[in-house]
C-alpha cells in the first residue's frame, strides 16, 4: 500500500492564498458593518462568515480531499443545528398568532433593574 497515494499534500500556495482570502474577507466584513443596510447587515455578515467557514473547512480541514464521509458528517451536524434553531423559533416567534397577550412578558425588566 502506498502511503503517498493516500495523503494529499496541499501546495503551500493554496494554503497561503486561502489565508490571504480569509484576511481580506475579515477586513471586508468589518468595513461593511459600519455601513447601514438595515436587516441586510445581518445577511451580509453571515454570508461572509459562511464563505470563510467553507474555506477553512475545505482547505485547512482538508474536507475537499479527504473521505467524503467527513463532509457528510459535518453537514449533518449543521443541519441539526438549524433544526434546533428553526423549530424553536416556530414557537418563540409565533406565540401571538392567536392571542397577543400570550407573547409578551408581564413585567418586561428583570428584577435586577428594580433597585
Amino acid at each position: 500500500m502506498s502511503i503517498k497515494a493516500h495523503h494529499h499534500i496541499t501546495p503551500l500556495k493554496t494554503y497561503l492564498s486561502v489565508g490571504v482570502a480569509l484576511m481580506v474577507l475579515t477586513i471586508i466584513t468589518v468595513v461593511v458593518s459600519f455601513v447601514h443596510f438595515g436587516a441586510f447587515n445581518l445577511i451580509i455578515a453571515m454570508v461572509i462568515a459562511s464563505i470563510k467557514a467553507v474555506l477553512v473547512a475545505l482547505f485547512f480541514m482538508h474536507l475537499l480531499y479527504d473521505n467524503k464521509l467527513f463532509m457528510a458528517i459535518f453537514s449533518i451536524s449543521l443541519i441539526f443545528v438549524s433544526v434546533f434553531i428553526i423549530l424553536t423559533m416556530f414557537d418563540t416567534m409565533q406565540r401571538d398568532s392567536i392571542d397577543e397577550v400570550k407573547a409578551k412578558p408581564i413585567k418586561k425588566n428583570a428584577i435586577i433593574y428594580d433597585k
Binding site: 423549530l87 416556530f90 414557537d91 400570550k102 428583570a110
Partner: protein, 544 residues
Amino acid sequence: MSGNKTEVEKNYLNDQKGIKSWLLTLDHKRIGILYLYSIMFFFFIGGMSALLIRLELIRPQEVIVGADTYNQLFTLHGAIMIFLFIIPGIPAILGNFVLPLMIGAKDVAFPKLNLASWYVYIFGSLFAVYSLVTGAVDTGWTFYTPYSTSTDTSVVSMTLGAFILGFSSIFTGINFIVTIHKLRAPGMTWFKMPLFVWASYATAIIQVLATPVLGITLLLLIAERLLGIGIFDPAMGGDPVLYQHFFWFYSHPAVYIMILPGMGIISEVIAVFSKKKIFGYNAIAFSSLGIALVSFLVWGHHMFTSGQSEFAAMIFSFLTFLVGIPSGIKMFNWLATLYKGSITFETPMLYALSFMFLFAIGGFTGIMLGALSVDVHLHDTYFVVAHFHYVMMGGTVMAFLAGLHYWWPKIWGRTYNEFWARIAAFLIFVGFNVTFFSQFILGAKGMPRRYYTYLDQYQPLHAFSSVGAFVIGAGFFIMAFYLIHAMVRGKRIGRNPWGALTLEWTTTSPPSHHNFEEIPVVKNGPYDFDRIRVENDKWIYKEE
C-alpha cells in the same frame, strides 16, 4: 481448531487475574462486564426506590415518607433509571460485549476511550447519586425551570453529574460509529451486518448528535442558577418554556437511544428462535436510521400544554406521528418473520414476545399522546407514566432481558436454569401489566403524576398497581439468583447453544482475549436459516 478443553481453559475471563487486570483492561468484553455490574447496581437502586414509591401510593396521605421525601424519591428513581440505567444499558453492556464480535473485529476502534467511558460513567453516577441523596434534589428528572432555579436543593451538582455522564454516552457513541465503519471483518458488507449492529449504529448517531445539547442545556441551567443569566428564569427576563425546548431537544431523541438497541435485540432473537430469515432486512435497517433522524424533529410533543405557540404544536404533532410509522414497520416485519418459522420458546424468546405485546400498547398510547387535543387531557397524568413505562420497561427492559438471556451463555460460557427463568419471566410480565395497565385508567380519569397524595376516588386502582410492583420485584429477585448462580455454577455450554448464524456464535464461549482464533471471512447473511443450520456447533448447509 481448538478442542473443547482449551475453550474452557483460556478465555477473556481468566487469561489475566487480579483486580488490576480488570480495572485497567482494554478488552471490550471485560469493559462490558464492568458496565454490567455497575449498571445492574444502579438498576437495583432505581427499582428499590420504585417500590418505595408504590408503597407510599398504596393509599392517600402519608404511608411511609413525607411529601418532600416522596418528591426526592421519584426524582431519584427517574434520574437513575434514565441516566444511569436505560440510556447506557444496552449499548454499554451488550453492545460493548457483542458488537465487535458480531462484525468480526478484535476490539472496538478506541479501547482506551472505551475504558475512559466507564470511568466517566462511574464518576458521574456517584456524583449524581450522591447529590440526589444528600442534596435532596426534588425537581423530577426533567429539571424544569424556574422550579429548578429556585429550589434550594443541590440541583447544580446533580446537573453536573448528568453533564459528566453525557461524556460517557458520547464516547460510547463515537466508538461504535468508528468501529462499525472501519473494523468490519472481510466480507462483512453493510447489508450483511446483523440488525443489532444497525440499531447500535443508529443509536450512536443520536448519542453523538443529541447528548451535547443536553450538556449545554445543563450548563445553561447551572449558569442561570449561579449567575442569573436570564435565559430560563422569568425573574431574570428569561423564558421557562425555552428551557423545555432545550431539554426535550435532547430528551426526546434520548427515548430512541433507549428503544433502538432494544429493537435490534428483538430482531436477532425473533429470527434465531423462529429459525427464519428475517423479513424485510432492509426495511428494518433503514427504519432504524429513519427513526434516529426524525426523532430530532418532534420534541415539542412534550409541551403541548406548555404555552408554546399553536403553530409549533401543530408541526410537532404532525412530525410525531411520522415516527410512529417506522416503528410500526418493524413490528410488522417481526410478525412476518414468525410466519412459517420453526419457533421455540426459550427465555429470550419469551421476553421478545413480551416486548411485542407491551411495546405495541406503549406505542399506541404514544399515538394518543401525540394527538393534540387528547394530549391536553392526558398530559402530566398517570397515563403518561403508564405510556413511558410500557415503552421503557415493557419495551427496552424486556428487550434488554431478552438480550441478557440470549448472550448470557456466550458471556460466561455457562447457562442458566431455564425453569426458573421462565417463572421469573412470567412474574415480570404479569406484574408489569398489573402495575401499569391500571395506571392508564388512573391517568385517563385525571390522576396527575408526581402526586404524593391523592383524592379517594383513585385509591382502588393505586392499590392494585402497588401490588403489581411487588410481583415485578419478586420476578427480578428470582432472576438475580439464577443469573448469579449461572455465572459460577451454571451448566457449561458449547459455542452455539441457540443455533444462531451471527459471528459471535462462531467463537468459543466465553470468547478468548482476541475474540476469534482467526479473523472470520463472511460469506453468508446473518439470518440465512433457509440454507444453513447449526447443530452441536456444526454448520450444516443445504446442498444447492
